[in-house]
Amino acid sequence: MTSPGEQLLPINSNGDVVLVRQQVRAVAIQAGLSLVDQTKVVTAASELARNALVYAGGGQVKIEVVRNGVRSGLRLTFSDDGPGIPDIEQALTDGWTTGGGLGLGLSGSRRLVDEFDLQSAPGEGTLVTVTKWSR
């Protein structure tokens, strides 16, 4: 279910990945993030959206503005029903890739945001939640 402050975007094509970046940028501005923080969270979103597309054949992202006292932030929840990740520790290691990539998508995204949560198991899909707070 989505409440007024949230939106759900599909990730089923390369074009969708671009749309996710654009929408995350728009909401990051709305949440009051600085230019550098917008750039960081859009970059993380691009990595995570591509992962859902490439490794799971598609998925979706929920984009929402969140509040914590006086601070506002942006929370992104990426979900897919793909094969899941057998070894999360390994997947979060810089340079680890099974897809011929640079292996920086997960580990780099974790550095670019304030909160990072990855839940996955073989056959259970993957759920990645990231939050970036305004300063």
């Binding site: 390369n14 074009g15 990945v17 671009v18 970046r21 654009q22 940028r25 230019l35 550098v36 917008q38 750039t39 960081k40 859009v42 970059t43 691009s46 990595e47 591509r50 810089d94 990539g101 640079l102 920086l104 998508g105 580990s107 780099g108 995204s109 550095r111 670019l112």
Partner: protein, 126 residues
């Protein structure tokens, strides 16, 4: 898919990225550039990313790949116009782009290529 145009200015190829790059456009640009370097005998490639708002690992890898391909085809690559927020983000992402030459803007990029070309000619004469 949108294709990124490649302009020729003397013996330099200029790629000014003005679109939101999707992965297919990135791959197409690598191939188009390799073809164009060979077809024109260009000695330098400038990739202008002044308008690019984010560089993720896929796009960042393209810069390194283009630099390697051009070098093998006897051309040098310079990436120009990186925004400060993009530079900060790239470093935190873990991409230092060690093998990629950069310059602050187009003018400095052209000067760098001319300098590199001059240095090569001087070395060949020695």
């Amino acid at each position: 898919m949108e294709r990124v145009p490649i302009l020729k200015l003397g013996d330099i190829l200029i790629v000014s990225i003005q679109i939101d790059l999707e992965d297919q456009s990135v791959l197409a640009l690598q191939e188009d550039l390799a073809d164009k370097i060979v077809a024109t005998g260009a000695r330098g490639v400038i990739i202008d990313i002044t308008a690019v708002e984010i560089v993720d690992s896929f796009i960042g890898r393209m810069f390194a790949t283009i630099a390697s391909i051009s070098r093998m085809l006897d051309a040098e690559t310079v990436v120009v116009g990186m925004r400060p927020a993009v530079a900060i983000t790239l470093v935190e992402l873990g991409l230092s782009l060690g093998g990629v030459r950069t310059a602050l803007n187009l003018e400095k990029g052209v000067a760098l290529l001319n300098h590199l070309d001059g240095a090569q000619i001087a070395a060949a004469r020695r």
